[in-house]
Symmetry: none
Subunit: 457 residues, 2 copies
C-alpha cells in the first residue's frame, strides 16, 4: 500500500527541491542571538509545511528558549504511535570565505545540494515532512499514528528540550522514536545507529594583569596568560593520546569481543587519511580507529583565543586567554561527573599568576539501545529494500542529547535512521546532501512507516 | 654661556606651550593610511619649526614610506657633531571612549599636558627644537654642530629608516646620537639608558586535515591542531620560567656584580604587583624583577587563535591553529640566530599529524653602550644639574630599532636621555607629559649641548 505514496514523491520531486531550497535559505543559526527573528521565521515555515502536508494540531510551542514545532496525526488507537524528531536549527557558517557558494543560497552541483543544514538536519526534517505529505495526499491516511517534534536548539545542545519533554510527557507519549540525523555507513550502504556518544562542554577563561601589557616594558616580570593557557591545556593529554584527567576513564564500559572485531573490520585508515588529507591518524593508543570514533571518549579543544590576531606582529602580553573544550562521552560516563573531574584537573594544574573561570555548557548522556529490538530490525528491512544493500548496525561518535532525554523521560526505544554521509561537511564549510539519498531515503521512510504498523510494542 | 638660552626659554614658556598644543593637535598616526595627508602636514609643521628655530638646510626628505625631516647647523669643524633623532608620528588612539579629553585636543590639567604624542615622542621632539631655537635666538650660535632627523614611522617599526640611513651615511655622519624617547626612572629621578633589548618575531601556522571537522564524527581519529599547538607552545618554557630553546641563552652576556645589585635595588615587586593588579609576579628564576625586565631575554606568545571563538559551544576540530611569538633579546644575542634556533625547536617538537609553517617578522639587535663613555657621563652631569638629583644609568626592556641602526651603520655611540615617565600612558588612552619635565628637561638639554662641546670623540 506504500506504492501510491512513492509515486506521489516521484511526481512532485522538482517542486519539492524548490521548496527544500526555500527552507535551506532561512538562516536558522541557533547559537547567534542576532538571528532570533530568522529562527521564528523558520519555525513558522516548518509549521506551515506540516499543515500543508496534512498534519493536525500543528503548533509552534514556546519553550524557555527557541520554539518547538509540533504536529500530529492520530487516527487509529490500534496502531503504534511514532514520534518523529528533528531540528530546524543549523550550525554557524564561519569561516565564510571557504564556502564555494554562499551557505544560505542552496545550489545543486553534481547531484548534491550545497547549503548549511542540507544534511544536518533541515534536509532530513524536510524528507519526513514530505513522506507524511505523500501518504496523506495519495492515500489520505498514514499506516501508523504519528507525532512530530522539530526543535530549534539542537546545535546549541538542546538547553530547553529536557524541560519541554518533561512538561509535555502526555502529549509526546508514543511507542517509538524515529530520528534522521545520523550518517549512513557509506554511499549506498545504509545504517541504523544503536549507540551515541554523550557530550559535555565548557569555556575556560584565564585572567592576569588588569590590562594588556607592552612586552618591552613588562616582558619577563609577569605571567603571560597565553603561556599559562597552553601549559594548562597541554596537561590534558599524554603522548599516547590518552586523557590525563583523574577518573576520566573509570566508568567507561568495556567493548565486547564482537564489538572490537566489528569496529576493527570497519576501520579503513588509509581511506580516512586520504579523505581528510592527513599523513597520520592520531588517537588513543590500543584501539582501532572506529572504536576510537564510536566507543571511546575524547576531550577536544574546540577553540583557543587570546592576544593579537591581526596581520604582522604586536608585542603585547595579553591579560586574558580563552579556550573552549568539549568531551565526547561513552556509556557509562556521566557528563556532570566528567565536567567536575575536568574542573578539578584545571584548578589543580593552574599555573601561577593567573585566575581561572570555568563556564559550563550543555551536557548529554551517552546512549546505547539493544539492536535486536523489532523496531530497529524493521528499519533494517525498509533500508535494505530501498538501497538493495544490507544494513549495518553501527554506533556513532556524535551526540544527539535528545535521544537520551526521550529514552529517559518517555521510555522510548530510538531508531536512528539517517541519510547523511560522513563526507558531507556537517558543521563545516560546503555542507551538502546527496540527492540520491534524498530520493532513496524518502522511499525507505515510506516503507518503514508501513513496516512499523506491524510491529508489536 | 648657556644661561642666556635658559633665560630665553623661561621668557617664551607660554608661547611655546601654545605652539606645542598646535603640534600635538596634528593627527600623525603612522599606522593609519587614511592619515597620510595629516602625516605630510605634520612633517611640514616640523620642518617649519626647525627653520624658524634657525636650523639650516631644513628639508622634508622622501623615503620609501613616510618622509623624514632633516635640518642642520654646522659651523665649527673643531666641535663635535650631535645627531638628534626623534619621531613625529604617534600611536593609534583607540579605545577612544577611554580618553578623558580628546587625544588631539591637548589639555593641561594638574601640571600635565594630555594628548596623544605628548610624551611619545612629539613633546620631546618639540623640546629639542626649542632648545636649539633658544641658543640660536639668544646667543646666535650652538655650542656644538647639530644634525636633526625626525622620522614619521617609528610607531610602525621604522620600515624605511634603515635604507634611508644607509643611503645618507655622509649626510648623517656625526660623533654622537642623542635621543629623547626613553623614560626617566621616576618623578624627579633622571635616567640615562645605556641598554635596550632587541626583538625577533614570528608567526606559527599549523595545518591538519583539509577542513574543519565535526568532533562527534572525527573526534578520536585525528590530531586536533589546537592540541598540537598548545603541546608545541608549552615546550618553549619550563616550570622555572626558563626558555627551553636549545642555544637560546648561549650568547647572553652575564650581568656584572654591580648590575645585579643595582637591578635588585631598583626592583619594587610589591609596587609592580599593585600597579598590574596581580597577586604574583612571574619570570625566570634566580633574577630580580628589574634584571628580568632589562637584561634577560624573553620569549612571549603574543597571540593564539584557532577554532571557534564565538558565544557558546561549537564541537569542531579546527584544521588550522596559529600563534604569534616575539622575543626580547639582550646582548650578545643575534636575532637571526635566535629565530633559527626557535624554528629548529618548533620543528623538532612538532606533534604528529600536523604541518608547520613559520613566517618571520621584523628583528632588532639588542643594544648596549658602555656607560663610562664621556658623552654619557656628560649627560649625567647635565641631568643632575637640572634636577638636583643623582642620575641613574638604566637599561630598558623595549627596543628602539633605529638606535641599533645608527650604531651599526654610522658607528655612533647613543645617548638615550628621555623625559617621559613610565606612568604617562604611552600607547594607551590619556597619554600625558609632566610640564615639570618639559621645563627641567629643556634646561638639561641646554646644559648637555654645552657639556658635549668639551667631549673628545
Amino acid at each position: 500500500m506504500s506504492e501510491l505514496a512513492k509515486q506521489y514523491l516521484k511526481e512532485n520531486r522538482d517542486a519539492q527541491l524548490d521548496e527544500l531550497k526555500s527552507f535551506l535559505s532561512l538562516q536558522s543559526i541557533s547559537s547567534d542571538s542576532t538571528h532570533r527573528d530568522e529562527m521564528n521565521h523558520t519555525a513558522q515555515w516548518t509549521a506551515d509545511a506540516l499543515t500543508a502536508a496534512g498534519l493536525e494540531h500543528v503548533a509552534i510551542m514556546e519553550t524557555e528558549g527557541l520554539p518547538v514545532v509540533y504536529g500530529e496525526w492520530l487516527h487509529d488507537p490500534e496502531k503504534p504511535t511514532v514520534l518523529i524528531y528533528g531540528h530546524y536549527d543549523v550550525q554557524p557558517v564561519d569561516p565564510l570565505h571557504l564556502w564555494e557558494t554562499p551557505p544560505f543560497e542552496p545550489t545543486i552541483r553534481d547531484g548534491k545540494i550545497y547549503a548549511r543544514g542540507a544534511s544536518d538536519d533541515k534536509g532530513q526534517v524536510f524528507m519526513h515532512i514530505k513522506v507524511l505529505e505523500a501518504y496523506l495526499k495519495s492515500e489520505k491516511a498514514l499506516p501508523v499514528n504519528v507525532k512530530v517534534i522539530f526543535e530549534g536548539e539542537e546545535e546549541i545542545g538542546s538547553p530547553s528540550l529536557d524541560a519541554f519533554v518533561e512538561a509535555n510527557k502526555e502529549l509526546l507519549k508514543s511507542d517509538v522514536l524515529l530520528v534522521s540525523d545520523t550518517p549512513m555507513l557509506d554511499k549506498g550502504k545504509p545504517a541504523v545507529v544503536y549507540g551515541l556518544r554523550g557530550l559535555c562542554g565548557m569555556q575556560i577563561d584565564l585572567k592576569g594583569p588588569n590590562s594588556d601589557l607592552h612586552s618591552g616594558l613588562y616582558g619577563g616580570a609577569v605571567q603571560n596568560t597565553l603561556h599559562a593557557l597552553v601549559e594548562l591545556l597541554a596537561t590534558l593529554h599524554n603522548e599516547k593520546g590518552e586523557i590525563t584527567v583523574e577518573g576520566f576513564y573509570d566508568k567507561v564500559r568495556r567493548l565486547t569481543k564482537e564489538e572490537i572485531e566489528t569496529f576493527a573490520s570497519l576501520s579503513d585508515d588509509e581511506a580516512l587519511k586520504a579523505q581528510l588529507g592527513v599523513t597520520d591518524l592520531f588517537g588513543e593508543e590500543g584501539f582501532s580507529t572506529t572504536a576510537r570514533l564510536w566507543a571511546r571518549p575524547t576531550l577536544e579543544i574546540n577553540g583557543v583565543y587570546g592576544g593579537f590576531q591581526g596581520e604582522g606582529v604586536k608585542t603585547v602580553i595579553p591579560n586574558e586567554a580563552h579556550a573552549k573544550i568539549s568531551c565526547r562521552l561513552v556509556p557509562d560516563q556521566d557528563p556532570a561527573e566528567i565536567a567536575s573531574q575536568i574542573k578539578a584537573h584545571l584548578n589543580k594544574h593552574l599555573p601561577k599568576g593567573v585566575t581561572l573561570d570555568i563556564q559550563m555548557f550543555d551536557q548529554a548522556r551517552p546512549f546505547l539501545t539493544p539492536y535486536d529490538h523489532p523496531a530497529i530490525q524493521a528499519a533494517g528491512v525498509a533500508l535494505e529494500k530501498a538501497y538493495g544493500s544490507p544494513v549495518t548496525y553501527t554506533r556513532m561518535g556524535g551526540s544527539i542529547p535528545v535521544v537520551e532525554t526521550f529514552n529517559t523521560v518517555l521510555k522510548l526505544p530510538a531508531v536512528l535512521m539517517g541519510f547523511g554521509l560522513g563526507t558531507e561537511n556537517f558543521h563545516a564549510p560546503n555542507e551538502h546532501f546527496h540527492l540520491e539519498n534524498f530520493e532513496k531515503g524518502m522511499d525507505a521512510l515510506v516503507d518503514y512507516l508501513h513496516e512499523l504498523s506491524h510491529v508489536q510494542f
